[in-house]
């Protein structure tokens, strides 16, 4: 892990002692309590999981090039999408922005020396790694084939794969996410620098706060629900078992009670990153700061009220379906507020389209499409037709890949200079942004059409008339793969050869840009006292990299 350490001498701008070179050796990383180092640990681990999940996706897309199921057996295919979904959601996307960027940046944004509970933070990473280990063991033992949704009674009584092990993995990873959220809440409440009032906080902090609330209140529900599934598998009887009067729909209620809010765990941090990046590259305070801030909380709150929109055709009461449909429309309002405010921020801004901004604008566009198609699904009459078709697959990849992953990349590029003290190669980064954007749309837009045509999801083999669209999708996925591979290469390259970033390469506001790059272990040489509002840009910061 010491590869990340930077060779200092010839580049004076890189701060001499910083969190990276204060201590050396593997143990100094594995036992660190520094939130920045833990952020890096998380960065490495979620990247591995992203590659793994992407690898499964590539295999799936390969299989789907032809209508017949000729590449893998049905069981293998079923395991592929299950593992893809599980790895991407529980081991990549949920920890991605919070545990990598949040861990690294949040305390610095607050002017704090660390998170409130550094040991728990490290424990959170270890729990994540244990969860990951379980899931990898499951992969090695032959996988699991329930779909990431673990629907009963298939998962409890019919699947003969490693459901229990996978549940343990997800359970443990869930606790790592709880610990992260819990740490953030306490830190945001208790560790802000003097003068840093709530309305002086960067919007990323608000977003992380809202995310943490969901993590705390939602994650335990999935933990206990999945445990009940595991218990049912072990005892051969349980509370979802129809044989003793159990109701499979109760599982779905409890599952989605977490898993719908969980989609906001994935999108809220992305929205926070987008707010930061848009502000930095327009040099304006985000339009309607308070509205954007409170819309995060509104999403967190309303997000708990809509879960059964995943169950419109599952056999719930038509009346409750109506309530959930109505509430699902309401949850779109705060998202709309954000989109409109970001757009308005551009108005009369000082806009510089560099890579982070490119990703952020891509985020807005793709999230817009993803979110709007969410409205299609919330429309009950329409959901009957598109439920469990590729329309759903397209919807959630638009919000999760087009949305969250884009924003994650925006954030990584934006804070890379702070994290490593080096700039990435701008040209290559733009190429990658464009590749990802095109590849993404080519992969997933055809899936909307496929879905409306009626191609069900989780289909190993499909009807020949769906082939052309599937081929387009697979072609897109290969472009996407190149787009994602590029950053890994140039980021690695920049560690050694990137030009020194300086403290504030973007001329951005925010406390993190007022310490050195990379920051010292305690983040600031003296505790900052904040006397200015959020996003107060100053001409003298310029922007050394414009």
């Amino acid at each position: 892990m010491t590869t990340a350490v930077i060779d200092v001498p010839e580049i004076p701008e890189v701060e001499k002692t910083n969190y990276l070179n204060q201590e050396f050796g593997v143990m100094s990383w594995l036992l660190t309590q520094d939130h920045k180092r833990i952020g890096i640990l998380y960065l490495l681990s979620v990247t591995v999981m992203f590659l793994l999940g992407g690898f499964f996706a590539v295999l799936m897309r390969l299989e789907l090039v032809t209508p017949a199921g000729d590449l893998f057996s049905s069981d293998t295919y079923n395991k592929l999408f299950t593992l893809h979904g599980l790895v991407m959601i529980f081991f990549f996307l949920i920890p991605s922005i919070p545990a990598v960027l949040g861990n690294f940046i949040l305390p610095i944004m607050l002017g704090a020396r660390d998170l409130a509970f550094p040991k728990l933070n490290l424990l959170s990473w270890y729990l994540y790694m244990i969860g990951t280990a379980f899931s990898l063991v499951v992969v090695l033992l032959g996988g699991v084939d329930t779909g990431w949704t673990f629907y009963t009674p298939f998962s409890t009584s019919f699947s003969n794969t490693h459901v229990v092990l996978m549940i343990i993995g997800a359970f443990v990873a869930g606790f790592s996410s709880i610990l992260t959220g819990f740490n953030f809440i306490v830190t945001i409440h208790r560790m802000r620098a003097p003068g840093l009032t709530w309305f002086r906080l960067p919007l990323f902090v608000w977003a992380m706060y809202a995310t943490s609330i969901i993590m705390l209140l939602g994650t335990p529900v999935i933990a206990i629900t999945l445990s009940l599934v595991a218990i049912e598998r072990l005892l051969h009887v349980g509370i979802f078992d129809p044989a003793i009067g159990g109701d499979p729909l109760l599982f779905q209620h409890l599952f989605w009670f977490y898993s719908h809010p969980a989609v906001y765990i994935m999108i809220l941090p992305a929205m926070g990153v987008t707010s930061e990046v848009i502000a930095a590259f327009t040099r304006r305070r985000i339009f309607g700061y308070k509205f954007v801030a409170f819309s995060s909380l509104a999403i967190a709150f309303l997000g708990f009220l809509v879960w059964a929109h995943h169950m419109f055709v599952a056999g719930i009461s038509v009346y409750s379906a109506m309530i959930f449909s109505l509430l699902s429309f309401l949850v779109a309002i705060p998202s709309a507020v954000k989109v409109f405010n970001w757009t308005a921020t551009l108005y009369k801004g000082s806009i510089s389209i560099q890579t982070p901004m490119l990703f952020a604008l891509g985020f807005i566009g793709l999230f817009l499409i993803g979110g709007m198609t969410g409205l299609f699904l919330a429309t009950m009459g329409l959901d009957i037709h598109v439920h469990d078709t590729y329309f759903i697959v397209a919807h959630f990849h638009y919000v999760m890949v087009g949305g969250s992953v884009m924003a994650y990349f925006a954030g990584i590029h934006y804070w890379w200079p702070k994290i490593t003290g080096r700039m990435y190669p701008e040209w290559w980064a733009r190429v990658s942004a464009v590749l990802i954007f095109t590849g993404f749309n080519l992969t997933f837009f055809p899936q909307f059409i496929l879905g409306y045509l009626g191609m069900p999801r989780r289909y190993h083999a499909y009807s020949p008339e769906f082939q052309i669209l599937n081929v387009m999708s697979s072609a897109g996925a290969s472009i996407l793969a190149i787009g994602y591979a590029l950053p890994m290469i140039y980021f690695a390259w920049s560690l050694k050869f990137g030009k020194a970033a300086g403290n504030n390469p973007w001329g951005a506001a925010g406390l993190e840009w007022q310490t050195t790059s990379p920051p010292p272990t305690e983040n600031f040489h003296t505790t900052p006292v904040v006397t200015w509002e959020a996003y107060e840009y100053r001409p003298e910061w310029g922007g050394s990299n414009v």
């Binding site: 840093l196 729909l249 009461s317 009346y319 409750s320």
Partner: protein, 111 residues
């Protein structure tokens, strides 16, 4: 939801006031809890018709409230503690109410 209190000023780095509850209070609460336990048991053996469960729950809730307010010192805690507490019970409430909204209306078909 755990809406942050916007009026909360700069984070105080002062010592929190250490509120010390007197042992007398603790003993009193302890006594009341024991009595309430006895009452629950007693009431359970009386036929109250459909009121048995609500009464049992009401007693359990009063006991829980006493523990929360006095043993857990919430009476003298910050507003934030109250907010957290209320938020979490509200979330459980949402789970109960909206899920029951499904189960209890499944049979109604007068549309």
């Amino acid at each position: 939801m755990n809406v942050a209190d916007p009026t909360e000023e700069l984070v105080s780095h002062k010592d929190p006031q250490h509120h010390i509850t007197s042992p007398a209070t603790y003993y009193l609460i302890f006594g009341v809890l024991l009595i309430l336990t006895a009452v629950t048991v007693g009431v359970a053996f009386v036929d109250l018709g459909r009121m048995n469960t609500p009464v049992a729950l009401a007693i359990a809730m009063s006991k829980a409230t006493l523990v929360i307010l006095y043993f857990m010192h919430v009476r003298h805690s910050t507003r934030l503690t109250w907010v957290i507490l209320i938020a979490s019970f509200m979330t459980v409430g949402i789970l109960f109410v909206l899920t029951l909204a499904d189960y209890l209306t499944r049979g109604l078909l007068t549309y």
